[in-house]
């Protein structure tokens, strides 16, 4: 439940979400010739306006989305493991559901999770829909994926605030851009002129694809990246310099876009799909803010091909899959994809370039270049080089993270709560366990554990891969006493932040199971604002935690709430770590 005092950012975001969804829906309805207001296309966000839902400050939080045919009952329901960026094409999905009468349920997850799901036999999914074919090819070791077909394409680009891009000399006043090479971007980062946000390369396809394109462009061999290229110290140093420009990370491309849109004054630039730059710009323009200009690195970019493939576990939903998949390829669905900023033409171009609404998305004043000539696509490295590139990213090349774990050890945490926390800390920080999710600590990563009850306990700090001190404190600390999340957060903010913020991506993870006393709330809020570093606070909600208190913190810090009540805490801790 969202409390009445919820910060304005949240409200603004909710409105935006509703507005975007409403536009997409309206379009879908017009095209389908349907009337009526069944709004099942917008999942949880649709009910935000009456406040009956949710624990989520942004649309990027909806983890599962159900689509049902507007009229009649569905002939079948497909469960699909999908990349988060498909939240943005809800209109096309709804249209395909209406036309095929096949209901779909999308579980949003990162590309690596989709790959792992396939490796493990596909779970209970009928289909997978990652952002790139490479995750299916790498994951489908059991040969269970059939009929994978690209639904649309979109390149991974830099979206840079127009003023910034002009300052850098990369954009003209009319939004058209100059040729910018990866080395130019590195120079801008090195001179402190450019910071950007980007999803984690080990958690999300947009981050992984951009990172592989950086490596390939920097190696400058004109061919696919090899293990030898990756081992070169000058290649590693350049990529490290480039990644030092990352000011916020995320496990989800869609959420990254929401984050930038929510605070455009703070974020100059993001690496993301062209389609999400378009979505961001629609919102920014509506808000009267400076739009982002799309920069297509001239020496190599990657393109997402968004394939939808059937997962054959012998469950016999292939017919329904065929119907849904076909409907998604229909002309009207393709038009909706393109209105959402995706390209559906073969060869990476637009099918409906002359359509007014499509033109309204692919705007040249946003630097959007819808021809295929802007796509200097890199040859993707081989699977083993991808795997080792991701490993080097996680352990060496990414910007180090500074994560403060503020964890509730009040009396009510005894038993289940504490068990969950201990498993969660191990899942996120024990190098062997964390490695399975590609979130293992690197040599320069800093982690701090601050247990709290009605006051903050002494912090335990570790630097590097040996996190055993934190894991020990986590399991040795006994739950006792009341709950004051603000005391824990104050301790994190006052005494446990880096001296030089520019060296780290910094985050506070707050885990609590109860409603907090609020005596220290105002003091903390004032201190947070005065601090000026806008460290994101990712609350993990458990037990009887008060959603309004946690939403408020997430809104204050432009972060998001994770729900540990409906999911295993170990899984949730792992996900949170993927955001930093």
């Amino acid at each position: 439940m969202l409390g009445p005092r919820t910060a304005s950012i949240t409200q603004a975001l909710r409105k935006r979400t509703v507005a975007v969804v409403a536009t997409v829906l309206a379009t879908a309805m017009m095209l389908a010739g349907c009337a009526g207001g069944n709004d099942n296309a917008n999942g949880g966000s649709g009910n935000v306006s009456d406040g009956s839902y949710s624990t989520t400050p942004t649309s990027g939080d909806v983890k599962t989305q159900e689509f049902k045919p507007k009229s009649g009952s569905p002939t079948a329901t497909l469960k699909i493991a999908s990349g988060s960026e498909n939240r943005e094409v809800a209109g096309a999905i709804q249209k395909a559901v209406d036309d095929s009468k096949v209901a779909v349920t999308l579980d949003y997850m990162g590309s690596l999770d989709i790959m792992n799901t396939l490796e493990n036999g596909g779970g209970d999914y009928d289909a997978v829909w990652p952002a790139s074919s490479m995750w299916i090819s790498m994951g489908d070791t059991k040969h269970i994926v059939k009929n994978a077909q690209s639904t649309s394409t979109t390149p991974i680009v830099f979206g840079i605030a127009k003023k910034k891009a002009q300052q850098l000399g990369w954009a003209n006043d009319d939004g058209t851009t100059k040729s910018v090479a990866t080395t130019d971007i590195i120079d801008a980062v090195q001179s402190g002129q450019l910071k950007f946000s980007m999803t984690s390369a080990t958690q999300s396809n947009s981050g992984a694809s951009a990172y592989l394109a950086f490596l390939t462009a920097i190696a400058k061999t004109g061919q696919a990246l090899t293990q030898d290229d990756l081992n070169k110290s000058d290649v590693q140093n350049s990529v490290k310099t480039l990644l030092s420009g990352v000011d916020r990370s995320s496990g989800s491309s869609d959420w990254l876009k929401d984050m930038v849109v929510a605070n455009p004054d703070r974020f100059d630039a993001m690496v993301n799909y062209e389609s999400l730059v378009i979505q961001a710009n629609k919102q920014l323009t509506k808000d009267g803010k400076d739009p982002l200009v799309a920069i297509y690195p001239a020496d190599g970019i990657a393109v997402s091909d968004s394939p939808l493939g059937y997962v054959d576990r012998g469950q016999k939903t292939d017919k329904a899959f065929g119907e849904f998949s076909k409907a998604l390829q229909s002309k009207s669905a393709k038009l909706l994809f393109e209105e959402s900023g995706r390209r559906t033409g073969l060869g990476g171009v637009l099918t409906y370039a002359d359509n007014a609404k499509v033109k309204d998305s692919f705007r040249s004043e946003w630097g959007i270049n819808a021809t295929s000539s802007a796509l200097k696509t890199i040859p993707m490295p081989s699977a083993d080089v991808i795997t080792s590139s991701l490993s080097v990213y996680q352990t060496i090349l990414r910007k180090p993270s500074w994560t403060v774990w503020v964890v509730d050890y009040s009396g009510s945490m005894e038993g289940q709560g504490k068990d969950g926390v201990v498993r969660g800390l191990n899942a996120a920080l024990d190098p062997d366990q964390a490695k399975q999710a590609h979130i293992e600590p690197g040599n320069d990563d800093v982690n701090v554990l601050i247990p709290f009850s009605s006051k903050a306990f002494d912090p335990t700090k570790t630097t590097g891969t040996d996190t055993s001190a934190i894991l020990n404190t986590g399991s040795d600390t006994r739950p006792n006493g009341g709950t004051d999340i603000y005391a824990g957060l104050e301790a994190a903010l006052k005494n446990n932040m880096p001296d030089d913020f520019s060296k780290y991506t910094t985050a506070i993870v707050l885990m609590t199971d109860g409603q907090s006393q609020t005596g220290n709330k105002d003091a903390f809020t004032a201190d947070y604002k005065a601090n000026g570093h806008e460290v994101p606070i990712f609350p993990i909600m458990f037990g009887e935690a008060d959603p309004s208190q946690l939403n408020e913190l997430a809104s204050l810090s432009n972060a998001k709430v994770f729900d540990g009540r409906t999911e295993d805490l170990a899984t949730v801790f792992r996900q949170v770590k993927g955001y930093n």
Binding site: S133, T377, P379, D384
Partner: protein
């Protein structure tokens, strides 16, 4: 004797009744004769090379199979990959070459029942701008709308790390290369490796010795591509979807574009002015062979070799077969630049040499 009117009517009525009854009986008999006796259908599954999926999903093929008591299912796998995949519950393996069958034999698969089902030449797919640039620079030639690529020149350019600009295509990113599927997993990539090995051996079929001698060059040529799909279907789809920047030139089967033209007319319309089919000089033939693993597999093999399926496979999916492609020319597909006769064909290297090629490329992948 005068027969009364009423009697006539009565007789006529009787006659009608008799006729109707007889007719009904006769019709029922005819009907019974012409209704196929219900066949007990058995479900059959196996591993299938991706380029044949469109056939195996074709309702006409599935109906023919049903008539013969088979409910055909499949799992997609590369021709070589399938030889090491879990065969539990599988009744057939349907790779795209004799090499794969030999490879399977070496993996202790009983390949004694294997037989050739279709043929398809290996071709290269590219885009108009690339094709025309390469014709201008002499790496390719074009005559009456038919494009050929000189493989000796192409291999030479790759060996010497020529860039796309060097070979005439100014907009290309990085080095000249021809992408393929993973030669260790999938047949089309594997046959391309064979072609490269033959060229490096002066146009003679490669031998284990020549492969050893040329191993660094072969590895370097495949190293240019990096990511390689394990299925020709995925590879072709990405070629279509991602456009010229992503896969400027790609190895495939001739049937893939023919199949696209017949079965996805909308997609074909979008790309037909851009896609160019190039016949390598020389090329190799891919022989699609089915290995039955049990009785059901044998039944499927017989079905595939039947005239009905052979005709369907050619007319709807572009697989050449002795009986049909000869009499019913390739022009029927309306795909420009295709030829009825593929004249310049090289022999695949011996099995030993092919195993050597797989081994050196496997080693490269680590």
């Amino acid at each position: 004797m005068k027969i009364g009117k009423s009697k006539i009517i009565g007789l006529a009525a009787l006659l009608v009744v008799v006729l109707v009854i007889c007719g009904a009986i006769a019709f029922r008999g005819w009907q019974q004769k012409n209704t196929p006796t219900p066949v007990k259908t058995e479900t059959i599954s196996g591993y299938l090379g991706g380029e044949k999926i469109s056939l195996f999903e074709d309702q006409k093929f599935l109906d023919l199979a049903k008539k013969n008591g088979l409910d055909v299912d499949y799992r997609k796998a590369g021709s070589l990959d399938m030889m090491t995949a879990d065969r539990n519950g599988m009744s057939y393996l349907f790779p795209s070459s004799k090499v794969a069958v030999e490879y399977g034999k070496a993996q202790k698969i009983d390949t004694s029942g294997a037989d050739i089902v279709f043929n398809s030449p290996i071709v290269i797919y590219t885009h108009k701008q690339v094709a025309d640039s390469l014709v201008a620079s002499g790496l390719m030639s074009q005559e009456n709308g038919v494009y050929h690529i000189d493989m000796a020149k192409a291999v030479d350019a790759m060996t010497n790390d020529k860039s796309w600009a060097d070979v005439g295509w100014k907009d290309g990113y990085g080095q000249f290369r021809i992408d393929s599927t993973d030669p260790v997993k999938s047949n089309s990539g594997n046959e391309y490796a064979a072609l490269v090995a033959d060229v490096l051996n002066g146009g003679q079929p490669a031998t284990p010795d020549s492969v050893q001698r040329d191993s660094a060059t072969i590895q370097a040529i495949f190293g240019k591509s990096g990511w390689m799909d394990s299925s020709s279907e995925d590879s072709f789809n990405q070629f279509l979807t991602l456009g010229v920047g992503s896969k400027p030139m790609m190895i495939g089967y001739e049937n893939q574009v023919l199949d696209l033209a017949v079965n996805q007319p909308d997609a074909w319309k979008q790309v037909k002015d851009d896609i160019v089919i190039v016949y390598p000089t020389p090329t190799v033939w891919s022989t699609h062979m089915l290995i039955p693993l049990d009785d059901k597999g044998h039944k499927l093999l017989n079905l595939l070799k039947s005239d009905d399926v052979q005709k369907l496979a050619w007319q709807q999916h572009g697989f050449r077969s002795a009986n049909f492609s000869g009499t019913d020319g390739i022009k029927r597909f309306g795909v420009p630049g295709t030829v009825d006769q593929v004249t310049s064909v090289t022999e695949l290297p011996s099995n030993d040499a092919m195993q050597a090629i797989i081994a050196i490329l496997q080693k490269q992948q680590g």
